[in-house]
Symmetry: C3
Subunit: 370 residues, 3 copies
């Protein structure tokens, strides 16, 4: 259940005819796929959110019926960010000359001159999917394909007090964030007591499986005691436990991570262990800045809202104070040099992240040829 599969459910895509699709043949990003644009809770009833995604300013808000909208945050007239303007029902009105645009990006009101609306007065909109507590955006020129969103529906299985989401802006290329999660051998060195494997993880050479669209790695080990985040929920918190990590990257930048611990008999999966189902996913802002989103659902004490709040706060703080400074320091040291051009010394623990980098590079190269 940990490896996401292509969903074929008829989920509603909040899409609109695109006003100004701009082909970017030299883009460094995979385009015809879903990126997280925001956490669902970031889009409220009235406010507008602007965020740079794939080098493009994107305006997001919710219609009165709650469905989210995304469009280029740039009036096609004089290039003012529409986010400086105001909502007018489901439309947005530019602050500079009051051109009004509906959710399809179409200009619907021009207070100037005869009021005629120029044929080109359209804002490019972006298809959105709202799932798993996130708003996903499709920034490519091909028709949005809901089936290309991996299935992370495990996040929805259970009460709200068992699930949490968070967001961190990062001054680093998004592939450095993927590297960090795809090679979990860092956790005993970077992180503190609560998620240590006590050195058991590093010696493992995790089996790595790759298909056309995903890369999976899996670790299994024994440690005494179990990770602190699980130990207290096991029969004997101080005794040996078996543990596992199972991670699956899917394009463009999603990593589904399952982790759990068990004492005694049982399978190393989320049915039998005390564990959690996580999603790490990131979206490039630019070549050197990213949006890092994270969601987690645990399978124990799922009704304890206060524990839920404390746990996501602790995980958020670990990203910000432990992973974040290292990843951002690497970005600074690498500057804008290509990773492989710097001749990294690769080891067995790099198998999974390197396969992701190479598969992603192939997918991006294919789109440029296509």
């Amino acid at each position: 259940m940990d490896a996401p599969t292509r969903t074929t459910a008829s989920i509603p895509i909040h899409t609109h005819p695109s006003g100004n699709p701009v082909g970017k043949p030299d883009t460094p990003y995979l385009l015809n796929c879903w990126y997280v644009a925001a956490m669902s809770r970031e889009l409220g009833a009235e406010a507008m959110l602007t965020r740079q995604l794939l080098d493009t300013s994107v305006l997001m808000y919710r219609k009165a019926d709650g469905t989210p909208v995304a469009m280029h945050d740039r009036c096609p007239h004089r290039f003012v960010p529409l986010s400086m303007g105001e909502r007018h029902g489901d439309d947005v009105v530019c602050k500079y000359h009051a051109l009004r645009f509906d959710c399809s990006g179409q200009c619907t009101h021009n207070p100037h001159g005869t009021g005629r609306i120029p044929a080109a007065a359209k804002v490019r909109t972006f298809p959105l999917l709202e799932k798993y507590g996130f708003v996903w955006i499709w920034m490519g020129d091909e028709p949005a394909d809901a089936a290309k969103l991996p299935d992370f529906s495990e996040l929805d299985n259970g009460p709200a007090t068992g699930v949490a989401h968070t967001y961190m802006p990062m001054k680093a290329n998004y592939e450095l964030i993927i590297d960090n999660v795809m090679d979990l051998s860092h956790i005993d060195h970077v992180h503190g007591e609560i998620i240590t494997t006590r050195g058991q993880l590093s010696p493992l050479i995790p089996p790595v499986k790759e298909d056309n669209n995903t890369v999976n790695a899996r670790w299994e080990w024994r440690q005494t005691p179990a990770m602190m985040i699980f130990a207290n929920f096991l029969p004997d918190p101080t005794a040996e436990a078996r543990g596992f990590f199972d991670i699956t990257w899917s394009a463009p930048a999603n990593i589904q991570l399952s982790v759990g611990a068990i004492q005694g008999e049982g399978a190393l999966d989320l049915n039998d262990t005390v564990g959690q189902y996580d999603l790490h996913t990131c979206t490039p802002a630019s070549a050197t800045e990213s949006h890092y989103f994270f969601a987690t659902r645990r399978n124990h004490i799922v009704d304890d809202g206060e524990y839920n709040r404390m746990k996501i706060e602790a995980m958020h703080n670990a990203f910000v104070t432990e992973d974040g400074p290292i990843i951002e320091a690497v970005q600074k040291e690498m500057n804008t040099n290509d990773f492989f051009s710097l001749n990294p010394v690769l080891m067995s623990n790099d198998a999974a992240p390197v396969r992701v980098r190479r598969l992603l590079a192939r997918l991006i190269a294919q789109q440029s040829r296509g």
Copy 2:
């Protein structure tokens, strides 16, 4: 009277033989013309002012007799800004090695070695004209031509308590500032109650007149009540009034704007209306930063110094808090892309600013060929 004409008056040009004229064949700026370098009041008796103009550091100060001086703010010896040094009568002494330069940019004292002054020890100076409360600078290599300064002498007609000047640095290309003033259809949307036309301006398609050197646009309308800045000075502050805007751009970056309101009979000009004569003028600092200067003279309660002070403060604040953030946001969104390369959707209200952009581009192209 609103459209400036070429003045032929024998005004004194404070010019000096240029020490180091540097041809800039690839300049993005119109060179052989007058830009505002400073407000007259910025140049005091002793202090030195340094300001980046057209990508060049410029030092300005006043001689003992009050005439202003401008020169490259760079010692030709070791490139120290002369503004770090000290005044020595009408001369300036470099802080680093005490070379002294007179107002013609000529080195007049060298305390080193034999004291011989190298032939090349000259600082490039720039011709200045002080008129209309501003110090105007000529940065081209052709001889300065006072006749090329448009006539804004209406600014001088009346007591000092009826005239005011202000200055705002802007993080935007100067053409975006010109765009803003040349298309006044923005005022009902960007500005507050005091200068609203209550939506009367936007539907108008203003006649635009262009000759070799100027672009003029004019709006006339009725509104109830008149603009707040004029209503209280009309016979019936709450009743309908006729209003007008008349603006004329002249190279490189001057926009003379007249605006007024009237009830009953009379011409829509500054003789008959309650109104004001304004000058918006801006000077590039670099491709993405500008100096925005503004002067205004009103034709009513011209002896009220306290009203004068409050009014220029209000207008300054409107530029800084209302126009400024929009113009700077456009600059950020456009980055250094050429305006037309981004395919703006142009409308009837863009006729005047687009003609200015095209005429200015032609004038700059002509200078490159010349």
Copy 3:
């Protein structure tokens, strides 16, 4: 004794096989020579120091036996700065994945997989020499040559209370710092009362001597009274004294400066005068940032530690508040333009610094051809 000569003493070079020597054929820096990397006192028993030298991040620390170590501050695995990690005896452990490196840059422990250490898992190290209160680094690819460190052993002649060192980061190219010291004609204009020559220095045209590796200049004059820093130690503090400066640049960026004053008979050298032996030396961080190091030993009241402390503090403050702002303003005004491309007006007082610039340019050009 003032002009440094090549030392042939068998001083220990703390060097190690270089892990990853990268040829830089287009470097703007002279490489096969010694630069100061740090003051000796900056490297303590435990702490690690990171500093950008010649566009390269360098990690420095001391081994348990006190010898200093320098290596590229970049783990060859994932490019994390090793300075984020921890000391492990004489080794350093990377924060990210706990690879351990010894002082030769060799990876000695890999906790991952089988523990095999990849052949390429080496960090480039840099030979160091610790002399004269400084740690000197050799960043070129040729074998480090201790004989290439000029002899500044006069700094060591005397008690510690007569010697002091300081350091200032500067936002300027290092050649601008060399220019400043090689042309001492600036001191009457830039500095205050304590080191003025009362205008006696500027008229002198100092003899400049150049050989293949050094440029020397010398000034001698009379002034009344002597420089304040020396006057109180002369027989008659208010009477005329003879003074001298003798400076010798040696590659890449060392200037040994001797200065003294005398009344009555005697030679203008540090044996007979009340004076001091200084070393100005700087190391490029990048094209526009430098590390400025300074050491001074005086030949009078050498046992007064409090005087020593006050004097170095005063000299440090003079660099920071007097020379520094000028040099940094020149950098800003020049931007990244080449000095000679801006057509500086050169005078007799520029003979020494210009010879240094040209000799250094020749040495750098030779290395590119070599």
